[in-house]
């Protein structure tokens, strides 16, 4: 009758400390060789990759191997003069996912002035639909992720006034489910990644009152499995990226203490690659910058002393958010 719960076992020889130097090396190696296969074949998510890597470095107080001016020039080159949107890299099309990442990088380096800000605002505005939702680009795919990215982009530029915020909130509210979680579109199943987008959106616009916080926080804390790791949906395997989506949502809801920090930390540390650095989704897999930033950011939320404090709404260093004078809603 009773079946085994889906989970993994943390190997006893897995890393137990943060391998700071390895991670710096891992990220800085990642972009060094243009002809590296993984790097070369993933140009269609380059700017997002840069945001993951550069934010990870910033959180562990390390410097990128590239000079910052080059990075800023790169973002600049990715802005489409026509639409104002930012693409993953030259040769690809503008999209809100990369527009946000570009702005996050520039905001972190205090260089938003380097690009055509009005162009970005115009682009985000063009994505809003009559029902308040946002499409990812001009081709019309609708997703709650795009609502979150649009609003975060504008918030970093201090231009939330450019869109119909009431309509945008109305749409996000429609994506809320019977379990108080959020899915990609109205009536789509709740998923920790989308919950982060929904909660993050409401945190940005100061409307967390829309959520029954304890019902959602219960769903979120039930994502913790005996291994300590967090999964994204019921009956799914744990994965380091969910450590971030779940934990940051709990942090915004003021319920971080509803999961067990010690065992989660053990799980995240076990997902480090002891040879080349970086974090993986689960122990023993291949590391990548995506899981590296979310592993480090989650450890920061868990109070890790040697990692800079991360802001749960923006997934950026708290110091940057304070410098920008931003005050996302965080429940206590």
């Amino acid at each position: 009758m009773a079946k085994l719960m889906k989970d993994i076992e943390v190997p006893s020889d897995a890393p137990k400390e943060i391998l700071f130097e390895k991670h710096v090396q891992f990220i800085n190696e990642y972009g060094k060789d243009e002809d590296n296969f993984e790097y070369g074949m993933t140009d269609y998510l380059r700017l997002s990759g840069m945001y993951w890597g550069l934010t990870a470095l910033e959180l562990i107080n390390a410097q990128p191997s590239q000079c910052k001016d080059n990075i800023i020039d790169y973002v600049k080159k990715c802005q489409d003069t026509n639409s104002g949107g930012i693409s993953a890299c030259t040769g690809h099309d503008p999209h809100i996912l990369h527009t946000l990442c570009g702005i996050q990088i520039l905001a972190m380096y205090d260089r938003v002035d380097a690009i055509d800000v009005e162009g970005v605002v115009k682009y985000v505005k063009s994505l809003q639909q009559p029902d308040g939702s946002f499409s990812g680009d001009k081709w019309g795919e609708i997703d709650l992720r795009f609502s979150f990215c649009s609003v975060m982009t504008l918030s970093l530029l201090n231009r939330l006034d450019a869109i119909d915020l009431e309509k945008a909130i109305e749409y996000v509210e429609k994506c809320k489910n019977f379990d108080e979680g959020f899915g990609s579109r109205p009536q789509s199943e709740s998923h920790a990644g989308l919950i982060f987008c929904g909660v993050g959106f409401l945190s940005l616009v100061n409307r967390l009152d829309i959520i029954n916080r304890d019902s959602l926080a219960w769903w979120l804390c039930e994502r913790q499995l005996p291994s300590g790791g967090l999964c994204g949906r019921p009956e799914k395997l744990p994965d380091v990226c969910y450590s971030w989506w779940v934990l940051s949502s709990l942090a915004m809801l003021g319920r971080l203490h509803w999961v067990d920090g010690d065992s989660l930390k053990t799980f995240i540390l076990a997902c480090q690659d002891a040879e080349i650095g970086g974090f993986t989704d689960r122990p023993g897999n291949v590391p990548d910058p995506f899981h590296t930033i979310f592993g480090l950011a989650a450890l920061s939320l868990l109070g890790e002393k040697h990692i800079q404090q991360v802001n749960p709404t923006y997934c950026m260093p708290q110091s940057v958010i304070e410098r920008l004078g931003l005050k996302p809603q965080i429940l206590t």
Partner: protein
Amino acid sequence: MHGRLKVKTTEEQKAEKHREQQKKLVAYRMGMKKIALSRSSDSYDPESFAISAQLLCVNPDIYTLWNYRKEVALLQRNSQNDSESEEFINFLNREVDLTEQCLLSNPKSYGSWYHRYWILMIHPQPNWEKEFNLCTKYITYDDRNFHCWDYRRLLVNKIGITLPVELKFSTDRLNNNFSNYSSWHYRSTLRKLDENCIEEELNLVQSAVFTDPADSSAWFYLRWVLSHPILSIQKRQELLEAFEELQELEPDCKWILLAKCWLTGSLVLSDKEYIDRRIQFYSELTKLDKLRKGQYEDYLKLAEKKMKT
């Protein structure tokens, strides 16, 4: 890079792999260059178009290539005298086939799903019924793929499938497998809880949790049903007793204790006795389910505070 196991390889294997990868990388870059060139001239170049299909079959997440194919589809449409010409319809059908090929190897690619829908939206004779049957088939292959469920929702609205039909589909899915959160979720979108259906829903979810109390999925649905105020006090008391009995059989099942907490929580106003029991349940939970101790302690504090007042 989800779920990719790291494997040890010999130096020789490594060198061979490196050579192969470099070939692929060069081919990718050349293909992208050729496509970019063809795009900039706003014309349809069959060779570039074919390359983009090959690249997408390997990696359907290269979003720009789907955009390119949409541009070509629009060019094709504008070049036809008759917007319902066979040529154009065949072109669109091939696009639909391509997305199916991509989805078979990567069922979670956002780009493939959206392209399929977009193409069918400009199709003069879209076969939504066929889509719907395919969708039903794929849900039975992987009943947790939320893309597939989302697509189903789009189709249900397009075809105008009635609520009772979908409700039956959801009941069948659940009877096939109670342990499926996606099916429970889907059902919640079809049901507006009211006096006509709440007992039926309660019976369904109750039999699920009694069949396999260790499985988490149904408990979330149960909590939703229990949170509805129209459920009578008498029904709640009956349930509490049923869970007491179940717990004797499954003493280590935290879900049963949780359900007892929800029930006594909603009964608390009517009888002070329930607060004592609630405190007892939460104390047991802190020992039984240590990972979520923080949550139970918060509820304990609340209950103790209530008891003092």
